[in-house]
């Protein structure tokens, strides 16, 4: 499995090589790749934690099994940027070990080169999601 650091570098470079408009197109594509919640969570929204740092309702749940982290995130269709952020974190962190996720770089939001395309204020939602994922992983490990 590619390391989180390597995946982050690759994704960051991919964004960096694009113009502002194409960065948004790529983020929208990534948003479309966010997996649907499995039925056990889709039918039990009470199990999910609300990410208060995000402007739109984002909910997440983390599972730890045999030291591997499973990440489940959901955000409404009318919040594609938030879905994009959720999908990025899912792609970077899902399936890694507890130690790897806990050691994931704190500056993921800053290394995606999205500040000009998305604005600094909006990127902070991504920070909130990352912090909450790490906290849940630490609690469940």
């Amino acid at each position: 499995m590619t390391s989180i650091e390597q995946s982050l570098n690759d994704l960051g470079s991919e964004f960096a090589e694009l113009g502002v408009k194409d960065r948004l197109t790529l983020l929208l594509e990534i948003a479309g790749e966010l997996p649907e919640l499995p039925a056990r969570y889709a039918d039990h929204p009470d199990l999910l934690e609300r990410v208060e740092e995000c402007q739109s309702p984002v909910f997440l749940f983390v599972e730890v099994e045999n030291d591997r982290v499973g990440i489940f995130l959901t955000a409404p269709e009318e919040a594609p940027t938030t879905r994009g952020f959720a999908s990025i974190l899912h792609q970077l962190l899902n399936g890694h070990t507890v130690a790897e996720v806990l050691a994931a770089p704190e500056d993921i939001p800053d290394r995606l080169h999205l500040k000009d395309a998305v604005s600094l204020l909006r990127i902070n939602g991504l920070r909130g999601m990352l912090n909450r994922i790490k906290r849940q992983v630490a609690e469940k490990a």
Binding site: V20, L24, T25, L27, L28, A31, E52, E53, C54, Q55, S56, E77, E78, A79, P80, T81, T82, G84, D116, A117, V118, S119, L121, R122, N124, G125, R127, G128
Partner: protein, 298 residues
């Protein structure tokens, strides 16, 4: 005015009926020469998911703000933005957006700083348009660049700065944030902790009227009668008052600014765009805690 106004009966009761259009009117006017439709959203990707056919996107964060200094773009940049958006000085511009038209109202306010005469809001915004199943597209809008003059930004008529706010204490002010932000329980709006300040509370003397009181469930504006009952009746404001509205960064207060100025016809209303993110972090700025407006003796 390039395109005739919407003669909708609800709008005719407002002080300036020409500043609103209904979803019916806009659908009937798609493609009308002289009309430019602008989408301005909280979510920067939403326009790319779908938009009203022919609409262009103007983003408050990335298009209307300067990249470095906390301020809006200047005349040359606004002229460039208008040009690439296909807007002429005489165009009728209809703005709509998500989140109850907050960012659409904010964009309209910036258009007014540059004195664009005919700017209107779509009553109910993006949410109502979609809910009614009206046409949307993913197709990129092809824009023919226009000539737009370089206009000096007017920071006097509709905009208030911190020193003016300080001098205004004792005169009518409207705080449009949530009750918890107003009374000092929290420094930020629920779900927006990144737009925080170092202190919580409100500007002395400001009355609390959360912005949403001006809106219906379907995001449209309330009727003139209902709005008057709130701002004139309950809060005792008068249309010839000099009023300043604020929130946390000025987007929700643009919504209230629009209501007071255009729907109720207040002669002097300014939006304090520095709002709580500035006032609540300003060294030495007076603040009141609790649910009462409070007073401040200078």
């Amino acid at each position: 005015m390039t395109v005739p106004k919407d003669s909708n009966e609800k709008f005719s009761a407002y002080a300036h009926p020409e500043v609103l259009v209904s979803t019916e009117w806009l659908e009937a006017n798609l493609g009308t020469p002289g009309l430019v439709i602008v989408e301005s959203d909280e979510d920067v990707l939403l326009y790319d998911v779908s938009h009203i056919p022919g609409a262009v996107k103007i983003d408050w964060h990335t298009d209307l703000n300067q990249g470095v200094v906390r301020d809006y773009i200047q005349g040359p940049e606004f002229a460039e933005l208008a040009s690439r958006s296909g807007i002429k000085r005489e165009s009728t511009v209809v703005i709509y957006g998500d989140a109850s038209n907050w960012w659409a109202s904010y964009a309209l306010w910036v258009f007014k700083l540059f004195g664009h005469t005919d700017v209107r809001l779509l009553d109910g915004g993006r949410e109502k348009w979609i809910a009614e199943g009206r046409p949307v597209t993913k197709d990129e809008t092809v824009v023919e660049a226009t000539e737009y003059p370089i206009i000096e930004r007017d920071d006097v008529t509709d905009r208030a700065f911190r020193d003016q706010v300080q001098a205004h204490i004792g005169k009518p002010m409207v705080d449009v944030r949530s009750p918890q932000e107003y009374n000092g329980e929290r420094t930020h709006m629920p779900n927006y902790p990144q737009e925080s300040a170092l202190r919580a509370g409100h500007i002395p003397g400001a009355q609390s009227v959360p912005w949403a009181r001006a809106a219906n469930e379907d995001k449209t504006f309330k009727s003139r009668e209902e709005l008057e009952a709130i701002y004139l009746g309950e809060k005792g404001l008068k249309v010839d008052d000099d009023v300043i509205a604020y929130c946390r960064i000025g987007e929700r207060s643009s919504h209230t600014w629009f209501v007071l100025k255009y729907l109720l016809g207040f002669g002097k209303v300014r939006n304090y765009d520095g709002s709580w993110t500035e006032w609540g972090s300003l060294v030495g700025a007076p603040i009141v805690l609790g649910d009462e407006p409070g007073v401040f003796s200078k």
